[in-house]
């Protein structure tokens, strides 16, 4: 069913990530202010962008689920959110390490992306407990979809509010030269971002395949159980 396409995607992912790593450590120049520590930028920011994209994608799949009631959309939404949550943990951890290396503190309230991610993480961490607290599968999927849509709409609102709350005089802690990024840095960043997107797509497909297989297995077992008591 997924067969060769998944294998091709995986190979492309590995190649892109490999290229990105080479570019990060052998091509991109060291940044003036932060020095070598800035290399974390090529990991942390793509992680953040893809995690946010994943949450929004999960919300869109949830809208489709609510509109069509087909369970496959619910499955896609669930896997996307599940993956993005893991990436969000990565964002928080790498961001914390970056903060420690740059500013000497394991956490900085002045970095709006990090703070926003903390709130987003706290919200999406309730997704699975919510699902498991509802037994009826149809209702579980429906309520989970409502949650995914609300949470997906919440993400940009949250970022706006947190950004505004930062003291605008205080410079961004973990930004880079930003708009003045030299071309070599920009290229490296784009390849890193592409690698992260591909990684997400690959893992998503893998988890979808695994969940589909598990569902089919359950159905098969149920049908076999119905065949059991056969008086000969």
């Amino acid at each position: 069913m997924h067969g060769t396409r998944l294998r091709g995607l995986s190979i492309l992912t590995v190649l892109t990530i490999g290229t990105a790593l080479v570019l990060v450590f052998f091509y991109a120049p060291n940044e003036a202010d932060q020095g070598f520590v800035q290399k974390i930028f090529y990991l942390h920011v793509p992680l953040a962008i893809v995690a946010l994209g994943g949450f929004v994608f999960g919300g869109i799949q949830a809208i489709q689920h609510l509109r069509t009631r087909e369970t496959r959309y619910d499955l896609r939404s669930y896997v996307a959110i599940h993956l993005s949550l893991i990436l969000a943990v990565g964002v928080l951890l790498t961001g914390s390490i970056w903060a420690k290396a740059s500013w000497g503190h394991w956490w900085v309230w002045d970095e709006p992306t990090l703070v926003s991610f903390l709130i987003v993480f706290l919200l999406y961490a309730t997704y699975q407990p919510l699902r498991f607290a509802i037994e009826d599968p149809e209702r579980q999927a429906r309520y989970a979809s409502v949650f995914a849509v609300v949470a997906g709409a919440f993400v940009p609102l949250n970022f706006i509010a947190v950004r505004l709350a930062q003291n605008l005089v205080h410079p961004r802690v973990l930004g880079t030269t930003g708009g003045n990024m030299p071309g070599s840095m920009r290229l490296t960043f784009l390849i890193s971002l592409a690698g992260m997107v591909l990684l997400f797509a690959t893992l998503w497909k893998y988890e979808m395949a695994s969940k589909n297989a598990a569902m089919q297995l359950k159905k098969l077992r149920r049908r076999l159980l119905e065949r059991e008591p056969q008086p000969v």
Binding site: A133, I134, V146, A151, A165
Partner: protein, 225 residues
């Protein structure tokens, strides 16, 4: 739709007046929390940002604890099925419940804010400023009411209802808290209070609008059975 909503609202208000399940408990919780803050912070007088923070966080916690009973009557007595069978527009239930929650919160604040001013607030602002405080709280209550109703409906059918509502609701309320805290803090200084930065009122307004829209679009999906 308006008549159905008004009927449900009247029913809920009458129920609350007779049984007093929600508002007294929220008020008691709030007052206790103020005492806890006094001992926890080891302060007798607060002003500015600290005062705004203590007041708003307490109100937020009280509200998410209070929403757990919002749909209790519908669930336990079968009122929900009766409603679904009636020709009433389902949004009427949303409007009625949100309006009820808003009124409960307003009632809570009518008690809690004066108590707060007396026991925890420092010299405090002048009379005119209190009107502005009331305005900010009203704007916040709108958001609290919408989000609270949505979260309560979501949590009503789950097993760990009392936990699900707070852990889902509180992160969702963070932007509203940020905006309300920044708007309120300058007002709670003694003497000549600062002006309310209009930007934060705009953020609160945006928050309320977005969630009202979301609730309107999604509430029906929570009611099917």
């Amino acid at each position: 739709m308006r008549r159905a909503a008004a009927t449900i609202l009247r029913k809920d208000l009458r129920l609350e007046r007779r049984t007093g399940e929600t508002v007294p408990a929220m008020a008691l919780f709030t007052l206790t929390a103020f005492v806890l803050f006094h001992f926890g912070l080891q302060r007798g007088e607060l002003d500015g940002e600290l005062a705004a923070g203590v007041l708003l966080v307490t109100l937020l916690l009280a509200s998410v604890l209070g929403v757990t009973r919002l749909f209790a009557a519908e669930q336990e007595e079968g009122g929900l099925d009766a409603f679904l069978l009636s020709p009433a527009d389902r949004t009427a239930l949303l409007v009625a419940k949100a309006a009820a929650l808003f009124l409960f919160l307003a009632a809570l604040e009518l008690v809690a804010v004066p108590v707060f001013a007396v026991i925890l607030l420092g010299p405090g602002p002048s009379a005119g400023t209190w009107l502005e405080v009331a305005g900010i709280l009203a704007l916040l209550d709108l958001g609290l009411a919408v989000v609270g109703t949505l979260v309560s409906a979501l949590a009503a059918q789950t097993r760990a209802r009392e936990l699900i509502a707070p852990i889902v609701g509180l992160p969702l309320l963070v932007p509203a808290l940020i905006a309300a805290a920044h708007a309120l803090a300058p007002l709670l200084y003694a003497g000549a209070p600062g002006a309310v930065p209009g930007r934060w009122l705009a953020v609160l307004g945006l928050y309320d609008s977005v969630f009202a829209l979301l609730a309107y679009a999604l509430f029906d999906f929570l009611l099917e059975d």
